[in-house]
């Protein structure tokens, strides 16, 4: 009897140790993901990513003509950001890097992101700068239409051919496919975790808090 109790106790202890070990949130540096870049923020200032050192950075890619996934992602990030205290928010930078810098000017990004949170920072720049940032994060984006998609085609179930249309920049909404990852970067600029909108917000918040404590 005593032998059985002892055996059960040892097993329980081992299980508890196992649970404790599996409960540890490991956030190793993700080598080859992220790095320094130069771009323009939504206030029109030239910025270097290393300039955000000392803050935890949450970074996502997208574009403002996106109707579904980008507003959804920004809504998720808004709720995530709201789960932080104001003191914590001061040490966190939420970056939204546009993959459509031709359309998403700094001022336009500022207006769009303000719908979600005035603290959110838009990152724009030249196409070359955008491509470089995308490559740093091993992300991807592709323009879905070779030219701007005339928005007045969208009503039609069977749209006209694009070449039948005369495009103007004002009348078009270029569509993109793009990576949906959300990158969590520590105060030294190292990417420590790659999340997505399926990550429970509390879990994501706790990872941010962990990096803030380091």
């Amino acid at each position: 009897m005593l032998k059985n109790i002892l055996a059960i106790s040892v097993i329980s202890l081992l299980l508890n140790v196992n649970i404790a070990v599996s409960g540890v949130v490991e956030m190793p540096i993700l080598s080859g993901v992220g790095g320094d870049f130069t771009a323009v923020d939504s206030n029109g200032n030239t910025v270097e990513f290393n300039g955000y050192a000392g803050n935890v950075v949450v970074l996502a890619f997208g574009y403002t003509s996106c109707a579904d996934i980008c507003p959804f992602t920004l809504g998720y990030l808004k709720q995530l950001y709201n789960k932080l205290s104001s003191e914590e928010q001061q040490k966190v930078r939420m970056l939204f890097v546009t993959v459509d810098p031709d359309y998403d000017t700094p001022a336009h990004l500022k207006g769009f992101l303000g719908h979600f949170d005035d603290d959110f920072i838009g990152i724009s720049g030249t196409k070359e700068q955008t491509d470089y940032i995308v490559s740093l994060y091993q992300a991807e984006y592709n323009q879905l239409s070779a030219i701007g998609m005339p928005t007045h085609n969208i009503r039609r179930v069977q749209p006209k051919l694009f070449e039948e249309e005369t495009d103007t920049k004002e009348d078009t909404a270029t569509l993109f496919s793009h990576s949906v990852s959300i990158y969590l970067v520590d105060k030294e600029g190292f990417t420590r975790s790659v999340e997505y909108t399926g990550t429970p917000k509390v879990e994501f918040r706790d990872k941010i808090k962990k990096l803030l404590r380091e």
């Binding site: 403002t64 003509s65 996106c66 109707a67 579904d68 996934i69 507003p71 959804f72 920004l74 809504g75 998720y76 808004k78 709720q79 336009h108 207006g111 769009f112 303000g114 719908h115 979600f116 991807e140 879905l144 928005t151 007045h152 085609n153 969208i154 009503r155 039609r156 179930v157 069977q158 749209p159 909404a173 569509l175 496919s177 793009h178 990576s179 949906v180 990852s181 997505y196 909108t197």
Partner: protein, 143 residues
């Protein structure tokens, strides 16, 4: 007598097929309040076919915007967007429009889409059920 029976059978079959159109119901439709500078926004909700035969969504329209059915598809961590057309909703099935999946893609937005709690009429055209009009609120919701 035999011819009369066959004729009656054909007549009943035709009559049955005419009356056996699918029934369409919609639920929880809402359109996301567009950011002030936005060109596009999205709408979500559920379209249910409560009938006993399949129906096809032929077209969608909305006053004050152009609209089409899109589907976001995530493959290898990459979001792709597809323009869906002639979607068939099977009998006793639903088409769920939700973020990161099927959604109404609205563009060329009139002022109403930038006003919280306004409503717009979205018109769905089905092959069998015909025209289904839905009053949809504009809502400021963050998922």
């Amino acid at each position: 007598m035999k011819n009369t029976f066959i004729g009656l059978l054909i007549g009943l079959t035709v009559l049955f097929s005419i009356n056996s159109h699918a029934d369409i119901e919609t639920d929880k439709f809402q359109i996301m309040l567009a950011p002030a500078v936005a060109k596009n926004t999205a709408g979500y909700g559920v379209i249910s076919n409560t009938g006993d035969s399949a129906d096809t969504l032929l077209n969608i329209s909305c006053d004050g915007a152009t609209v089409m059915l899109h589907k976001t598809e995530i493959k290898s961590n990459h979001a792709h967007m597809h323009h869906m057309k002639n979607i068939i909703i099977e009998a006793n099935s639903s088409l769920v429009l939700e973020p990161m999946s099927y959604h109404l893609m609205l563009s060329e937005l009139s002022d109403v889409f930038f006003k919280d709690r306004e409503t717009v009429t979205v018109v769905f055209e089905f092959k069998h059920a015909g025209i289904v009009e839905v009053e949809v609120p504009i809502v400021s919701v963050f998922y």
